[in-house]
């Protein structure tokens, strides 16, 4: 359970617990008035009094996956310098044969419930995101929340994909650290994808190995029927083989939890890339502004000194249609000087913005790195513990079987 301190002005300092406690199948009508089935999740918020540690249910409402998505998209726009926690996967991927790829499958829904809870807890434990009003309303305001979010007009503020792509290719001087980070997030995404794919195949094969042993149970039982002294030993050994075969189900279910932990960081890689993209965009914007300013300054200088070094349409037309009058030239110089002044202001503020962004983003990235190292180490430890448990179970079963065989 993670705790969040609400420090909003209208709330006293309290500890808050968030949980996504239930999932429910619902039917309703969608935007096109067609009937659809979806799953709704119950979000409960409890505040914990300092003194006695008792928790009181303060809010409880139902949300569906698309509302979580909306929340996240909003946060992405308004906090571009933050590595925004990812949502659990929309569709089941990296499945091995026993897992269902069906979104309505109860196991998938259960794992998603846990993932959504984790998402909210991540937000709640983030020093900046936890203070967001829209997030707060997500937890507390059932009706009208969607409208409230849309009213912020965040979709309009979002950077277009095309713009971002353009910037990525054309930016000349991005901060080196962001280049490295982007490279890292690409590699991370690739390696975790690979890992998850192979792990799913490993799970599949392991399942096969265990289940085939179940056949021993049956045949030992049949064989024991024709034996005199050997019968009992065979029969009881067969029972242990059945136990062995059925033990794999729980083992692999636990392993899914490990896979989910890895998946979170797979999706986190995308969040990292988003921050890098924002930097590239801002940097590109800055470079374009500086370039524009420089060219205007040059134009101005040429006009003033009479030398034409830079190409300008005005210059061209003057050449074709005759010189302009000194008044016209003065006017133009004046306009340019205005623009240059404006431009310099803009460049200054853009520079400042850019530096602020880099500073804040990097602070969050450092925070993220620590979180990642901590979480993944925990995940690896729990994975090792799972393997140890599996080995111990295996030793137990085979030792029991061996004892039965010894009594043959």
């Amino acid at each position: 359970m993670n705790f969040l301190h609400m420090t909003e002005s209208n709330f006293s300092l309290k500890k808050i617990e968030i949980s996504v406690s239930e999932a429910e199948k619902r039917t309703g009508r969608n935007a096109m008035n067609m009937q659809e089935t979806y799953t709704a999740y119950l979000i409960e918020t409890r505040s914990v009094e300092h003194s006695d540690g008792q928790s009181v249910l303060t809010d409880s409402l139902w949300r569906r996956y698309s509302e979580f998505e909306l929340l996240r998209n909003y946060l992405l726009v308004y906090y571009p310098h933050i590595v925004v926690p990812p949502l659990p996967e929309k569709r089941a991927e990296f499945v091995w044969h026993k897992l269902s790829a069906d979104n309505m499958d109860p196991d998938f829904v259960e794992r998603r419930r846990i993932g959504l809870e984790n998402f909210l807890l991540r937000l709640a434990s983030h020093p900046i995101l936890c203070r967001d009003k829209i997030f707060y309303l997500f937890l507390t305001q059932e009706g009208n929340w969607k409208e409230t979010v849309n009213e912020t007009g965040f979709q309009l503020k979002a950077d277009s994909r095309l713009k971002a792509l353009n910037a990525t290719f054309r930016v000349k001087n991005p901060d080196k650290r962001f280049i490295e980070l982007k490279h890292y997030s690409d590699e991370l995404q690739s390696v975790i994808s690979h890992l998850l794919r192979v792990r799913a195949r490993v799970a599949d094969r392991l399942y096969g190995v265990y289940k085939v042993h179940g056949n021993y149970g049956r045949v030992f039982s049949e064989w024991s029927a024709i034996e005199k002294e050997m019968g009992d030993g065979l029969q009881s050994a067969g029972h242990h083989m059945d136990v062995y075969a059925s033990s794999i189900d729980d083992i692999l279910e636990d392993e899914e939890h490990y896979a989910d932990q890895l998946k979170e960081y797979l999706f986190y890689a995308e969040a990292l890339r988003a921050v890098c993209r924002k930097h590239e965009l801002m940097q590109y914007d800055l470079e374009m502004a500086a370039q524009d300013l420089a060219s205007k300054k040059q134009q101005c200088e040429e006009l003033a000194t009479g030398t034409v070094r830079t190409f300008s349409l005005k210059g061209m037309t003057t050449k074709l249609f005759g010189q302009e009058t000194p008044e016209q030239r003065e006017a133009r110089i004046k306009m340019l000087e205005e623009q240059i002044k404006e431009g310099e202001q803009q460049l200054k503020s853009k520079n400042l913005e850019g530096r602020e962004f880099v500073k804040n983003a990097w602070a969050d990235i450092e925070r993220f790195k620590e979180q990642k190292n901590h979480d993944l180490k925990e995940a690896l430890i729990s994975y090792a513990v799972m393997q140890i448990s599996m080995c111990k179970k295996g030793i137990q079963v085979w030792t029991n079987a061996k004892e039965c065989f010894s009594k043959m």
Partner: protein, 437 residues
């Protein structure tokens, strides 16, 4: 059982056996014919005693005790106890040291057969000879011919599909060596077969090939007499115990076949699992190269998975090399036993037919003609030998399977222990820097 009377048997037994006409030794010049030689008093009495007991309409033998009519069965019964006591063992045979021989015509493997014995049948206390599979095959055929009433242990399969199995690979040769060793040890443990002269020759002769050619003519006739029995007579009714054995063997072979298939399937699944593990482990290494603080833990996990892969490979190799061959051996054993049972049936059928013929010729009574008597002897000896061998076989089977299955369980335990060790050793590595923070 040690001390006293039983001790006398090993030394006297073999001798009297040699002098005693074996029911089916027939016209072999080396064995005494018919009742010309003087059997030891004990055995004579036993024989006549057995006669009366055993003329039962359906040819059944009294349940429980083996018929005393056959000298060999008497021997069997007493020596069964002796076998349990290793102290009275006087013959030790080992197969080892496989060597490859490359000749112009062919390439083959020979194995060293070492024999140590205090038995009088052996001129020297110790022998060391080299034999190839062909020789073992020859021995087995000779034993089947000369001891048709006994269960001859099986040999590992003769033919291997070229291209699929490498006849000269270490694993194949070792598996075969173990099977051949077992084959000889089973003969060694058998109170009748171990005294067979072909066995002796196999263990001792410098040039077996020369011997093979020599002994051919003599022994074919013995084989003939057995083969003649096989045709023409229909069995009235099989004694219950032999019917039961037959049924048992059918189901037994079936179950072993199923276990063989399951084991093969497990190996297949394990190999496929291994393939995936071999890709899985290195991915952690690749990831580790990207990271700073996580580099060591990830590399550690990669190494762990590598250790588990190695352990798994050992497990599948062991199953293939040790488990499957023994299963198959017992399937072969059941098959050869079924054919011995068939022969027994034929012997019984012949006897019954002859008896019936005599019963119809009323003037011959009450004296039973010699040839019918001979048939009866044949049948009774066969029954007794078979019963004794079956008992021995059941005992050995129980021990062999106990050992085999315990071995299988052991190998699995070892596999999991290796994996456990790997994962446990990595926990401190994973936790280390956590605390440092």
């Amino acid at each position: 059982m040690s001390g006293g009377p039983p001790k006398a048997l090993p030394s006297t037994g073999p001798q009297s056996l040699r002098d005693m006409p074996h029911p089916l030794a027939g016209s072999s010049s080396e064995e005494a014919v018919g009742g010309d030689s003087t059997p030891s008093p004990d055995l004579l009495t036993a024989r006549s005693f057995g006669d009366k007991d055993l003329i039962l309409p359906n040819g059944g033998t009294p349940a429980g005790t083996a018929s005393p009519a056959s000298s060999s069965s008497l021997l069997n019964r007493l020596q069964l106890d002796d076998d349990v006591d290793g102290e009275t063992r006087d013959l030790f045979v080992t197969v080892d040291d496989p060597k490859k021989h490359v000749c112009t015509m062919e390439t083959y493997i020979t194995y060293r057969i070492t024999t140590k014995s205090t038995r009088v049948e052996f001129d020297l206390p110790e022998y060391s000879v080299r034999r190839r599979y062909q020789d073992f095959d020859w021995l087995r055929n000779k034993l089947e011919e000369s001891q048709p009433t006994h269960l001859i242990p099986p040999l590992p399969e003769k033919f291997v599909v070229k291209g699929v199995v490498d006849r000269f690979s270490e694993e194949f040769v070792e598996t075969r060596r173990k099977a051949l060793d077992k084959f000889l040890k089973r003969i060694t443990d058998h109170p009748v077969l171990s005294f067979n002269e072909h066995f002796n020759v196999f263990l001792t002769a410098k040039d077996l090939n020369a011997h093979k050619k020599q002994g051919m003519a003599l022994l074919t006739r013995v084989g003939e007499s057995v083969k003649h029995v096989a045709g023409g007579y229909k069995l009235r009714s099989r004694p219950l115990e032999f019917a039961a054995i037959g049924e048992y063997l059918d189901t037994f072979a079936l179950k072993l076949g199923t276990i063989d298939r399951i084991a093969q399937r497990i190996i297949k699944e394990e190999i496929e699992y291994l393939v995936e593990l071999r890709e899985y482990g290195p991915v952690y290494s690749t990831w580790s190269a990207l990271e700073g603080e996580l580099a060591e833990p990830l590399e550690g996990v990669s190494a762990c998975i590598g250790s588990c892969s190695a352990a798994l490979e050992e497990l599948t190799d062991d199953t293939t090399e040790d488990f499957l061959p023994v299963l198959r051996e017992y399937i072969l054993y059941s098959d050869s036993m079924k054919s011995v049972l068939k022969k027994r049936d034929h012997v019984q059928a012949e006897y019954e037919a002859k008896l019936e013929a005599v019963a119809l010729r009323k003037e011959e009574r009450p004296k039973v003609p010699a040839d019918v008597e001979k048939c009866q002897d044949r049948m009774e000896c066969f029954n007794a030998d078979l019963k004794a061998d079956m008992e021995r076989w059941q005992n050995n089977k129980r021990q062999d399977f106990r050992q085999l299955l315990m071995g299988m369980a052991d190998k699995n335990i070892q596999y999991y222990e290796k994996c456990l060790m790997a994962w446990e050793s990595i926990i401190p590595l994973l936790q280390e820097k956590q605390e440092a923070k």
